[in-house]
Amino acid sequence: AQSVSQHNHHVILSEAASLELGCNYSYGGTVNLFWYVQYPGQHLQLLLKYFSGDPLVKGIKGFEAEFIKSKFSFNLRKPSVQWSDTAEYFCAVNGGYNFNKFYFGSGTKLNVKP
């Protein structure tokens, strides 16, 4: 079975600080990787996704993530956070036969102080 670990449960940053959120997954086969964001009171929205190709993926709002296959990692980064990035971030994976079934990490709450 697939599983996803997010090591940072709660992160507090000041505006303009750099962000890196860790995500590790366990699955031996070909995987698709995702970062979703949940702003307060809103639905889960896709930030970025990786299916194949360039392991450095750029998403919306200046976010990017790097897939490192040897480390089973897909860390999310942003060079300079804004107050509006305050939200909960979820890493997710799917793959194999169950390609439409998403496995989510437990999430990281990001608080950006103005």
Partner: protein, 113 residues
């Protein structure tokens, strides 16, 4: 183009009761999945429907059941509610294909008292 819509947004039920949650998928999507998001946790897969049949199921008891209609909309039913069923229930839709993202609704907040 409407995204995924869920109803109701909030619900309070008593232990032992039954509940039905509803979902309309994004236009053009034929696959609907349901997830349970407990407080402080990530969404957990309950089951998935395609062509009106349950295609995959997660580790949830058979108190959790569902249905998909010919227009692709779906229902999630939970019988004999327990306090532990209190959670945000999310519906996600997608086409049935590899290499695609899922689109999520805003969820139904179920509180069991």
């Amino acid at each position: 183009d409407a995204g995924v819509t869920q109803s109701p947004t909030h619900l309070i039920k008593t232990r032992g009761q039954q509940v039905t949650l509803r979902c309309s998928p994004k236009s053009g999507h034929d696959t609907v999945s349901w997830y349970q998001q407990a407080l402080g946790q990530g969404p957990q897969f309950i089951f998935q429907y395609y062509e009106e049949e349950e295609r995959q199921r997660g580790n949830f008891p058979d108190r959790f059941s569902g249905h998909q209609f010919p227009n692709y909309s779906s229902e999630l039913n939970v019988n004999a509610l327990l306090l532990g069923d209190s959670a945000l229930y999310l519906c996600a839709s997608s086409p049935l294909m590899r290499d695609t993202e899922a689109f999520f609704g805003q969820g139904t907040r179920l509180t069991v008292v």
